[in-house]
């Protein structure tokens, strides 16, 4: 194993690491340096202001609200998507009521697999256009129009989905779950099919019930896949920028009255609308630290012993 090992390692690492440092790490570091200035974002003139931006952040109500919303998205989007995906995966694989030979999934499983997966291949911009029409506040919105058509909606007082502080964030979460659940369903059903049957048989012989089997056997064996899904979904939920900025009110979204504000929208508004770019960078740095903590925690918590089949 020692033949020219180091040149080989260096040769294989230099391109990926170089590119990563140049285009990812270095810009992040520069963001940090900007966060100590009063940069306006419109030129390369700025003054050093020390920790002022950070002090302002600590008392910025909107920023704190945005952080809370980010935390909410970070927890809910992956959790809901994964739970729903697990349920779907279960149904299309083994939820069916078998005939003589036994059938794997429910009737129409193949159909569900195709349909559920489809939203994931739509560009996120399409989701924005689509759901803008779906959530429209008057009777021309799909939801309100349908509710009114079947006599459930109040025509003179329709639900303004995206203009209701109690609903708007849920509407956004729904879009993300709607788009993602199918993909993870496919991912999980793949993983389920790869679990050896004798493990189940053993569990069944021990008299485990359906739920017990699921929680004691399936879930732990799917853990690695779920972890991957969680990481990917967490990245996605951190950056709900396009959806929120196009669907909700205020410059760069986040409305009404900051009730769907997340860091990305508030950061962009500070950066562009308010010309407070140094402040926006400070926001970015706080966000960076928080994501770092979340990643570390996730990795620690999810590190489990691998089961070799």
């Amino acid at each position: 194993m020692h033949r020219k090992k180091y040149p080989f390692i260096a040769g294989f690492l230099i391109l990926p690491v170089g590119l990563y440092v140049l285009l990812v790490i270095w810009p992040y570091l520069q963001t940090i340096s900007y966060s100590f200035t009063d940069w306006s974002g419109a030129s390369q003139n700025f003054n050093f202001v020390g920790l002022d931006n950070y002090k302002d952040l600590a008392s910025d109500d909107v920023f704190i609200k945005a952080l809370q919303h980010n935390a909410l998205l970070l927890v809910l989007v992956p959790t809901l998507t994964i739970l729903l995906a697990l349920f779907f995966a279960f149904m299309v694989n083994v939820g069916g009521r078998g005939g003589a030979g036994g059938v794997a999934g429910v009737k129409g499983s193949a159909f569900y697999r195709v349909i559920f997966f489809f939203p994931q291949v739509l560009s996120i911009a399409i989701l924005a256009i689509l759901f803008k029409a779906v959530y429209r506040g008057d009777d021309s919105g799909l939801i309100n129009g349908t509710l009114q058509a079947v006599g459930l909606g109040d025509k003179s007082n329709p639900t303004e989905w995206l203009n209701d502080p109690d609903l708007v964030l849920w509407c956004i979460i729904f879009v993300m779950v709607w788009a993602g659940a199918g993909f993870y369903m496919v991912l999980f059903s793949a993983a389920m099919q790869s679990i050896p049957k004798d493990i189940y048989e053993a569990a069944l012989l021990d008299g485990a019930g359906r739920f017990q089997t699921f929680f004691r056997v399936t879930l732990p064996l799917l853990w690695e896949t779920i972890q991957t899904a969680w990481v990917f979904l967490a990245i996605l939920s951190m950056d709900a920028f396009l959806l929120i900025s196009t669907l909700t009110s205020q410059d760069f979204g986040g409305g009404p009255d900051h009730s769907s504000e997340v860091i990305s929208t508030y950061l962009m508004r500070n950066f562009q609308t308010y010309s407070k770019s140094g402040y926006a960078c400070a926001m970015g740095v706080v966000m960076l630290l928080l994501t770092l903590i979340v990643s570390i925690v996730t990795l620690r918590l999810s590190r489990r012993d691998r089961i070799e089949f």
Partner: protein
């Protein structure tokens, strides 16, 4: 091993993952039936929730702008394809092509570089291995928008603003963390015996990687490739920042998401929703075709990746 004999009398038990596990019909208890009805109902509901909005918006292609803005369930009066022509003229085809040009190179390149790094990190001991690995993984959750401005200047210094190669490099760089994270664990699970045998036979490290490890890692590569296709397909803020005309005469090289959002913003002033919906539909069709023809491969690719 699918003999019904192994089935315990508790017929409510369904075995996740067990293909062909027979269950006697009609043995489910009432509770099971209700649960089943509910579960089935939910599947149908979810399918409706996906199909209905999409069909509804397709219908919008044939409505007039004011019809779309009046009651949701107005039916188109004229079935013309005018909107598609207007949508096409807005450049949706170009956006699609631009996206394709970038991704045809960026996705394979991401996987190549990601696999190289992940392989070395997973299979070789050297000083700083853990550091480099965590260095990559740490970046996986950082939101892109935090680095936008310095990134813009960096790409500018490389002279690559509003160029395909610039965006490709950036896509690769930002996809590396997740790719390395994913493939690292994959390479670790591959058996070492083949590798060692090859080394004993005198194969170079590079040959071992390309001729032995990559083929063995194919399922993992396919599935991380799918992740990357989806991830890069949905990039918005990176192209928005980097793929902008640098002068009035610079060509428009917008990516699809960016182009569609710009059409949507434009529609807030000179409103032509049918054309916007048509543009959206046009951009969906190739994706739909590709997806429907390859969905089996996509799904089996994911399946293969999880069988280790």
């Amino acid at each position: 091993m699918t003999a019904p004999a192994t089935q315990p009398p508790v017929t409510k038990v369904k075995v996740p993952g067990q293909r062909g596990g027979g269950r006697g019909p009609g043995k489910d208890g009432m509770e099971g039936k209700t649960l089943n009805a509910f579960s089935h109902g939910f599947l149908v509901l979810w399918a409706v929730m996906i199909v209905l909005p999409l069909c509804w918006i397709l219908l919008g292609n044939f409505k007039t702008d004011s019809q779309i803005k009046s009651s949701a369930w107005t039916w188109p009066t004229e079935w013309t394809f005018d909107a598609f022509q207007r949508g096409w003229e807005k450049g949706v085809g170009d956006y699609l092509l631009n996206t394709l040009i970038v991704m045809v190179i960026s996705v394979p390149l991401t996987m190549l570089l990601g696999a190289m790094a992940a392989y070395v990190l997973a299979r070789y001991d050297f000083v700083g291995n853990r550091f480099v690995y965590y260095f990559f993984v740490a970046g996986s959750m950082f939101p892109v928008f935090l680095a936008l401005v310095p990134l813009y200047f960096m790409v500018d210094r490389l002279g690559m603003l509003n160029t395909y190669q610039g965006l490709i490099l950036v896509y690769v760089a930002y996809s590396l963390p997740f790719t390395v994270f994913y493939l690292h664990s994959f390479f670790r699970t591959l058996p070492t015996a083949v590798h060692e045998a090859a080394v004993i036979d005198g194969a170079s490290h590079t040959r071992v990687f390309f001729q032995i490890m990559v083929p063995m890692a194919k399922p993992g590569l396919i599935s991380v490739g799918i992740f990357n296709v989806l991830g890069q397909w949905n990039q918005y803020i990176l192209p928005l920042t980097l793929m902008q005309k640098q002068s009035g005469s610079d060509p428009d090289r917008s990516m699809l998401a960016q182009g569609l959002v710009s059409l949507m913003n434009q529609g807030n002033y000179e409103t032509d929703l049918p054309a916007l919906y048509a543009g959206m539909t046009i951009s969906m069709i190739p994706v739909l075709v590709v997806y429907l023809s390859f969905q089996r491969q996509v799904q089996s690719g994911l399946t293969a990746a999880t069988i280790k």
